[in-house]
Symmetry: C2
Subunit: 201 residues, 2 copies
Protein backbone atom coordinates (compact mmCIF):
# COMPACT_ATOMS: atom_id res chain seq x y z
CA UNK A 1 0.00 0.00 0.00
CA UNK A 2 2.82 2.39 -0.96
CA UNK A 3 0.81 4.33 -3.52
CA UNK A 4 -0.33 7.05 -1.16
CA UNK A 5 3.24 7.41 0.08
CA UNK A 6 4.59 7.58 -3.45
CA UNK A 7 2.03 10.26 -4.29
CA UNK A 8 3.05 12.16 -1.22
CA UNK A 9 6.68 11.91 -2.33
CA UNK A 10 5.74 13.02 -5.82
CA UNK A 11 3.93 16.00 -4.42
CA UNK A 12 6.90 16.98 -2.29
CA UNK A 13 9.38 16.50 -5.12
CA UNK A 14 7.20 18.58 -7.40
CA UNK A 15 7.14 21.35 -4.81
CA UNK A 16 10.90 21.05 -4.50
CA UNK A 17 11.33 21.17 -8.26
CA UNK A 18 9.35 24.39 -8.39
CA UNK A 19 11.38 25.91 -5.57
CA UNK A 20 14.68 24.77 -7.10
CA UNK A 21 13.78 26.23 -10.46
CA UNK A 22 12.66 29.44 -8.81
CA UNK A 23 15.89 29.72 -6.82
CA UNK A 24 17.95 29.01 -9.93
CA UNK A 25 16.13 31.69 -11.90
CA UNK A 26 16.52 34.15 -9.07
CA UNK A 27 20.23 33.48 -8.85
CA UNK A 28 20.78 33.62 -12.58
CA UNK A 29 18.77 36.65 -13.55
CA UNK A 30 17.43 38.32 -10.42
CA UNK A 31 14.00 38.95 -9.02
CA UNK A 32 12.59 40.52 -12.18
CA UNK A 33 13.16 37.31 -14.13
CA UNK A 34 11.48 35.21 -11.46
CA UNK A 35 8.13 34.78 -13.21
CA UNK A 36 5.82 31.82 -12.84
CA UNK A 37 5.89 31.26 -16.58
CA UNK A 38 9.68 31.04 -16.52
CA UNK A 39 9.55 28.63 -13.59
CA UNK A 40 6.92 26.56 -15.38
CA UNK A 41 8.97 26.42 -18.57
CA UNK A 42 12.06 25.32 -16.66
CA UNK A 43 10.33 22.41 -15.01
CA UNK A 44 8.43 21.66 -18.23
CA UNK A 45 4.95 22.12 -16.83
CA UNK A 46 2.21 24.58 -17.54
CA UNK A 47 2.03 27.69 -15.36
CA UNK A 48 -1.36 26.55 -14.09
CA UNK A 49 0.17 23.39 -12.63
CA UNK A 50 2.19 25.43 -10.17
CA UNK A 51 -1.06 26.54 -8.57
CA UNK A 52 -1.79 22.92 -7.65
CA UNK A 53 1.27 22.97 -5.39
CA UNK A 54 1.43 26.56 -4.22
CA UNK A 55 -1.28 29.01 -3.32
CA UNK A 56 0.32 31.83 -5.25
CA UNK A 57 3.65 33.39 -6.19
CA UNK A 58 4.01 34.95 -2.75
CA UNK A 59 4.13 31.54 -1.15
CA UNK A 60 6.99 30.55 -3.46
CA UNK A 61 8.94 33.73 -2.73
CA UNK A 62 8.41 33.17 0.96
CA UNK A 63 9.89 29.69 0.66
CA UNK A 64 12.95 31.11 -1.12
CA UNK A 65 13.27 33.51 1.78
CA UNK A 66 13.14 30.60 4.21
CA UNK A 67 15.71 28.61 2.26
CA UNK A 68 18.10 31.56 2.24
CA UNK A 69 17.62 32.00 5.97
CA UNK A 70 18.28 28.32 6.60
CA UNK A 71 21.67 28.57 4.89
CA UNK A 72 22.49 31.71 6.80
CA UNK A 73 21.40 30.17 10.07
CA UNK A 74 23.64 27.17 9.49
CA UNK A 75 26.62 29.50 9.10
CA UNK A 76 25.69 31.36 12.25
CA UNK A 77 25.57 28.13 14.26
CA UNK A 78 29.29 27.68 13.70
CA UNK A 79 30.18 30.39 16.20
CA UNK A 80 28.53 28.43 19.01
CA UNK A 81 31.84 26.74 19.66
CA UNK A 82 33.27 30.00 20.99
CA UNK A 83 32.95 30.01 24.75
CA UNK A 84 33.26 33.70 25.51
CA UNK A 85 29.89 35.32 24.72
CA UNK A 86 31.38 38.64 23.66
CA UNK A 87 33.79 36.95 21.29
CA UNK A 88 30.94 34.80 20.03
CA UNK A 89 28.98 37.95 19.35
CA UNK A 90 31.90 39.62 17.63
CA UNK A 91 32.55 36.63 15.38
CA UNK A 92 28.83 36.30 14.67
CA UNK A 93 28.74 39.91 13.52
CA UNK A 94 31.81 39.36 11.35
CA UNK A 95 30.21 36.30 9.79
CA UNK A 96 26.92 38.14 9.31
CA UNK A 97 28.49 40.96 7.30
CA UNK A 98 30.79 38.63 5.40
CA UNK A 99 27.93 36.30 4.51
CA UNK A 100 25.79 39.22 3.36
CA UNK A 101 28.51 40.73 1.21
CA UNK A 102 29.33 37.34 -0.32
CA UNK A 103 25.68 36.38 -0.87
CA UNK A 104 24.12 39.71 -1.77
CA UNK A 105 21.11 38.24 -3.54
CA UNK A 106 20.21 35.94 -0.68
CA UNK A 107 20.77 38.75 1.78
CA UNK A 108 18.46 40.85 -0.36
CA UNK A 109 15.78 38.22 0.01
CA UNK A 110 16.27 37.93 3.72
CA UNK A 111 16.51 41.50 4.85
CA UNK A 112 15.84 43.96 2.05
CA UNK A 113 13.29 42.74 -0.45
CA UNK A 114 9.58 43.09 0.16
CA UNK A 115 9.02 39.55 1.30
CA UNK A 116 5.31 38.70 1.48
CA UNK A 117 5.04 38.73 5.23
CA UNK A 118 1.29 38.19 5.05
CA UNK A 119 2.14 34.58 4.31
CA UNK A 120 3.86 34.36 7.66
CA UNK A 121 0.95 35.90 9.48
CA UNK A 122 -1.47 33.44 7.96
CA UNK A 123 0.49 30.28 8.45
CA UNK A 124 1.49 28.76 11.74
CA UNK A 125 5.07 28.22 10.69
CA UNK A 126 7.39 30.30 12.83
CA UNK A 127 9.33 32.99 11.03
CA UNK A 128 12.91 31.84 11.03
CA UNK A 129 13.97 35.46 11.02
CA UNK A 130 12.39 36.00 14.38
CA UNK A 131 14.13 32.90 15.72
CA UNK A 132 17.42 34.29 14.55
CA UNK A 133 16.79 37.59 16.29
CA UNK A 134 15.74 35.77 19.45
CA UNK A 135 19.08 33.96 19.45
CA UNK A 136 20.91 37.25 19.10
CA UNK A 137 18.92 38.50 22.04
CA UNK A 138 19.81 35.41 24.07
CA UNK A 139 23.44 36.01 23.28
CA UNK A 140 23.03 39.55 24.59
CA UNK A 141 21.53 38.15 27.79
CA UNK A 142 24.66 36.06 28.18
CA UNK A 143 26.95 39.02 27.51
CA UNK A 144 25.08 41.17 30.00
CA UNK A 145 25.12 38.38 32.59
CA UNK A 146 28.88 38.17 32.14
CA UNK A 147 28.98 41.96 32.64
CA UNK A 148 30.57 42.52 29.26
CA UNK A 149 28.25 45.20 27.89
CA UNK A 150 27.50 48.79 28.70
CA UNK A 151 23.91 48.32 27.54
CA UNK A 152 21.82 46.49 30.14
CA UNK A 153 18.66 45.82 28.13
CA UNK A 154 19.24 42.71 25.98
CA UNK A 155 16.51 43.60 23.48
CA UNK A 156 17.90 47.08 23.00
CA UNK A 157 21.40 45.71 22.70
CA UNK A 158 20.29 43.21 20.08
CA UNK A 159 18.50 45.88 18.07
CA UNK A 160 21.49 48.23 18.26
CA UNK A 161 23.81 45.50 17.10
CA UNK A 162 21.52 44.40 14.31
CA UNK A 163 21.03 47.99 13.14
CA UNK A 164 24.77 48.37 12.86
CA UNK A 165 25.56 45.15 11.01
CA UNK A 166 22.51 45.35 8.77
CA UNK A 167 23.21 49.01 8.09
CA UNK A 168 26.73 48.44 6.86
CA UNK A 169 25.86 45.25 5.00
CA UNK A 170 22.93 46.72 3.10
CA UNK A 171 24.72 49.98 2.34
CA UNK A 172 27.63 47.98 0.96
CA UNK A 173 25.39 45.69 -1.07
CA UNK A 174 23.37 48.59 -2.46
CA UNK A 175 26.60 50.44 -3.24
CA UNK A 176 25.70 53.46 -1.15
CA UNK A 177 29.09 53.10 0.44
CA UNK A 178 31.42 52.98 -2.53
CA UNK A 179 34.85 51.62 -1.76
CA UNK A 180 37.23 49.28 -3.58
CA UNK A 181 36.26 45.65 -3.27
CA UNK A 182 39.44 44.70 -1.46
CA UNK A 183 38.95 47.47 1.10
CA UNK A 184 35.65 46.03 2.31
CA UNK A 185 37.03 43.70 5.02
CA UNK A 186 39.26 46.46 6.37
CA UNK A 187 36.34 48.88 6.59
CA UNK A 188 33.94 46.39 8.16
CA UNK A 189 36.61 45.44 10.67
CA UNK A 190 37.12 49.09 11.58
CA UNK A 191 33.38 49.56 12.03
CA UNK A 192 32.99 46.41 14.10
CA UNK A 193 36.04 47.11 16.24
CA UNK A 194 34.80 50.62 16.94
CA UNK A 195 31.34 49.34 17.74
CA UNK A 196 32.73 46.85 20.23
CA UNK A 197 35.02 49.42 21.78
CA UNK A 198 31.97 51.60 22.33
CA UNK A 199 29.62 48.90 23.51
CA UNK A 200 31.87 46.55 25.47
CA UNK A 201 32.89 47.09 29.06
Amino acid sequence: MGIAERKERDKLSMRQAVLDAAMELYHEKGIEALTLRAVAERIEFSPATIYLYFKDKDEIVFHLYSMAFAKFYQKQLEVNSIADPLERLRQGCRDYIEWGVQNPKLYDLMFILEVPMNVIAEENCQDIGKTSFAELQNLMVECIAADKLKIKDPELAAIMCWNMIHGITSLLIKKRIVIPHEAVPQMTNAVLDTFFVLVAK
Copy 2:
Protein backbone atom coordinates in the same frame (compact mmCIF):
# COMPACT_ATOMS: atom_id res chain seq x y z
CA MET B 1 5.04 86.16 -30.45
CA GLY B 2 3.94 84.57 -27.16
CA ILE B 3 2.69 81.35 -28.67
CA ALA B 4 5.98 79.51 -28.38
CA GLU B 5 6.28 80.63 -24.79
CA ARG B 6 2.73 79.61 -24.02
CA LYS B 7 3.41 76.20 -25.56
CA GLU B 8 6.51 75.89 -23.48
CA ARG B 9 4.47 76.75 -20.40
CA ASP B 10 1.82 74.24 -21.44
CA LYS B 11 4.46 71.58 -21.80
CA LEU B 12 5.88 72.30 -18.39
CA SER B 13 2.48 72.42 -16.73
CA MET B 14 1.54 69.16 -18.38
CA ARG B 15 4.70 67.55 -17.02
CA GLN B 16 3.92 69.00 -13.64
CA ALA B 17 0.35 67.73 -13.81
CA VAL B 18 1.64 64.23 -14.51
CA LEU B 19 4.11 64.42 -11.64
CA ASP B 20 1.51 65.86 -9.27
CA ALA B 21 -0.98 63.15 -10.15
CA ALA B 22 1.72 60.52 -9.75
CA MET B 23 2.76 61.88 -6.36
CA GLU B 24 -0.87 62.09 -5.26
CA LEU B 25 -1.53 58.51 -6.27
CA TYR B 26 1.62 57.42 -4.53
CA HIS B 27 0.64 59.18 -1.35
CA GLU B 28 -2.93 57.95 -1.41
CA LYS B 29 -2.44 54.31 -2.31
CA GLY B 30 1.26 53.57 -2.44
CA ILE B 31 3.64 52.64 -5.20
CA GLU B 32 1.58 49.65 -6.31
CA ALA B 33 -1.28 51.92 -7.34
CA LEU B 34 1.06 54.19 -9.21
CA THR B 35 0.27 52.99 -12.71
CA LEU B 36 0.44 55.08 -15.85
CA ARG B 37 -3.19 54.29 -16.59
CA ALA B 38 -4.22 55.62 -13.20
CA VAL B 39 -2.11 58.74 -13.70
CA ALA B 40 -3.62 59.21 -17.14
CA GLU B 41 -7.15 58.81 -15.84
CA ARG B 42 -6.52 61.33 -13.09
CA ILE B 43 -5.31 64.02 -15.45
CA GLU B 44 -7.98 62.99 -17.97
CA PHE B 45 -5.62 62.10 -20.78
CA SER B 46 -4.83 58.86 -22.50
CA PRO B 47 -1.92 56.77 -21.19
CA ALA B 48 -0.11 57.26 -24.47
CA THR B 49 -0.05 61.03 -23.98
CA ILE B 50 2.23 60.64 -20.99
CA TYR B 51 4.87 59.27 -23.31
CA LEU B 52 4.94 62.61 -25.12
CA TYR B 53 6.21 64.22 -21.93
CA PHE B 54 8.22 61.46 -20.30
CA LYS B 55 10.46 58.79 -21.77
CA ASP B 56 8.98 56.05 -19.61
CA LYS B 57 7.63 55.32 -16.17
CA ASP B 58 11.11 55.15 -14.68
CA GLU B 59 11.66 58.79 -15.57
CA ILE B 60 8.50 59.69 -13.67
CA VAL B 61 9.56 57.61 -10.70
CA PHE B 62 12.97 59.23 -10.83
CA HIS B 63 11.34 62.65 -10.61
CA LEU B 64 9.39 61.47 -7.58
CA TYR B 65 12.74 60.37 -6.19
CA SER B 66 14.16 63.84 -6.83
CA MET B 67 11.15 65.49 -5.24
CA ALA B 68 11.52 63.18 -2.26
CA PHE B 69 15.19 64.04 -1.92
CA ALA B 70 14.37 67.73 -2.12
CA LYS B 71 11.85 67.35 0.67
CA PHE B 72 14.31 65.27 2.66
CA TYR B 73 17.03 67.90 2.24
CA GLN B 74 14.66 70.65 3.24
CA LYS B 75 13.84 68.77 6.41
CA GLN B 76 17.52 68.14 7.08
CA LEU B 77 18.36 71.83 6.60
CA GLU B 78 16.08 72.73 9.48
CA VAL B 79 18.57 71.39 12.00
CA ASN B 80 21.18 73.91 10.85
CA SER B 81 19.69 76.39 13.28
CA ILE B 82 20.94 74.27 16.15
CA ALA B 83 24.26 75.67 17.28
CA ASP B 84 25.65 72.73 19.21
CA PRO B 85 27.04 70.26 16.65
CA LEU B 86 26.24 67.21 18.73
CA GLU B 87 22.65 68.31 19.20
CA ARG B 88 22.47 69.12 15.51
CA LEU B 89 23.68 65.62 14.77
CA ARG B 90 21.20 64.10 17.19
CA GLN B 91 18.25 65.99 15.76
CA GLY B 92 19.41 65.23 12.23
CA CYS B 93 19.42 61.52 13.05
CA ARG B 94 15.96 61.79 14.60
CA ASP B 95 14.64 63.54 11.53
CA TYR B 96 16.34 61.06 9.24
CA ILE B 97 14.67 58.05 10.84
CA GLU B 98 11.33 59.79 11.25
CA TRP B 99 11.31 60.91 7.65
CA GLY B 100 12.23 57.43 6.44
CA VAL B 101 9.55 55.73 8.50
CA GLN B 102 6.92 58.22 7.39
CA ASN B 103 7.94 58.05 3.75
CA PRO B 104 8.96 54.42 3.37
CA LYS B 105 8.52 54.19 -0.37
CA LEU B 106 10.47 57.37 -1.01
CA TYR B 107 13.16 56.20 1.39
CA ASP B 108 13.21 53.01 -0.62
CA LEU B 109 13.88 55.00 -3.76
CA MET B 110 16.51 57.16 -2.12
CA PHE B 111 18.58 54.66 -0.21
CA ILE B 112 17.58 51.11 -1.01
CA LEU B 113 16.45 50.65 -4.60
CA GLU B 114 18.83 51.29 -7.45
CA VAL B 115 16.46 51.01 -10.38
CA PRO B 116 15.64 54.64 -11.16
CA MET B 117 19.28 55.63 -10.93
CA ASN B 118 19.91 54.50 -14.49
CA VAL B 119 17.34 56.83 -15.97
CA ILE B 120 19.00 60.19 -15.93
CA ALA B 121 22.65 61.18 -15.82
CA GLU B 122 24.06 58.99 -13.11
CA GLU B 123 26.63 61.50 -11.93
CA ASN B 124 23.89 63.69 -10.50
CA CYS B 125 22.32 61.00 -8.35
CA GLN B 126 25.69 59.78 -7.18
CA ASP B 127 26.60 63.31 -6.24
CA ILE B 128 23.45 63.67 -4.17
CA GLY B 129 24.39 60.69 -2.06
CA LYS B 130 28.01 61.70 -1.79
CA THR B 131 27.13 65.27 -0.90
CA SER B 132 24.79 64.01 1.77
CA PHE B 133 27.48 61.79 3.23
CA ALA B 134 30.07 64.56 2.96
CA GLU B 135 27.80 66.85 4.96
CA LEU B 136 27.43 64.22 7.63
CA GLN B 137 31.18 63.88 7.67
CA ASN B 138 31.63 67.64 8.02
CA LEU B 139 29.28 67.61 10.94
CA MET B 140 31.42 64.89 12.48
CA VAL B 141 34.48 67.06 11.99
CA GLU B 142 32.71 69.78 13.93
CA CYS B 143 31.72 67.40 16.70
CA ILE B 144 35.25 66.06 16.97
CA ALA B 145 36.69 69.58 16.95
CA ALA B 146 34.35 70.43 19.82
CA ASP B 147 35.66 67.29 21.54
CA LYS B 148 32.19 65.80 21.76
CA LEU B 149 32.86 62.35 20.32
CA LYS B 150 34.78 59.30 21.42
CA ILE B 151 35.53 58.44 17.79
CA LYS B 152 38.29 60.61 16.38
CA ASP B 153 38.09 59.70 12.70
CA PRO B 154 35.27 61.73 11.12
CA GLU B 155 34.83 59.33 8.19
CA LEU B 156 34.52 56.36 10.51
CA ALA B 157 32.18 58.28 12.77
CA ALA B 158 29.99 59.22 9.81
CA ILE B 159 29.88 55.63 8.58
CA MET B 160 29.04 54.32 12.04
CA CYS B 161 26.25 56.84 12.41
CA TRP B 162 24.84 56.23 8.95
CA ASN B 163 24.98 52.47 9.50
CA MET B 164 22.92 52.88 12.64
CA ILE B 165 20.23 55.20 11.32
CA HIS B 166 19.95 53.49 7.96
CA GLY B 167 19.96 50.13 9.68
CA ILE B 168 17.03 50.86 11.93
CA THR B 169 15.12 52.79 9.27
CA SER B 170 15.40 50.10 6.63
CA LEU B 171 14.66 47.27 9.06
CA LEU B 172 11.54 49.09 10.19
CA ILE B 173 10.44 49.88 6.65
CA LYS B 174 11.02 46.33 5.47
CA LYS B 175 9.15 45.01 8.47
CA ARG B 176 12.08 42.98 9.77
CA ILE B 177 11.58 44.67 13.10
CA VAL B 178 7.92 44.08 13.82
CA ILE B 179 6.51 46.30 16.53
CA PRO B 180 3.20 48.14 16.94
CA HIS B 181 3.04 51.30 14.89
CA GLU B 182 2.68 53.54 17.91
CA ALA B 183 5.77 52.00 19.56
CA VAL B 184 8.08 53.06 16.74
CA PRO B 185 9.02 56.53 18.07
CA GLN B 186 9.73 55.11 21.50
CA MET B 187 11.99 52.44 20.08
CA THR B 188 13.87 54.75 17.73
CA ASN B 189 14.37 57.21 20.59
CA ALA B 190 15.78 54.46 22.77
CA VAL B 191 18.15 53.38 20.01
CA LEU B 192 19.30 56.92 19.29
CA ASP B 193 19.71 57.83 22.94
CA THR B 194 21.76 54.71 23.54
CA PHE B 195 23.86 55.38 20.47
CA PHE B 196 24.63 58.90 21.66
CA VAL B 197 25.39 57.75 25.17
CA LEU B 198 27.89 55.32 23.71
CA VAL B 199 29.44 57.63 21.15
CA ALA B 200 29.36 61.02 22.90
CA LYS B 201 31.95 62.19 25.34
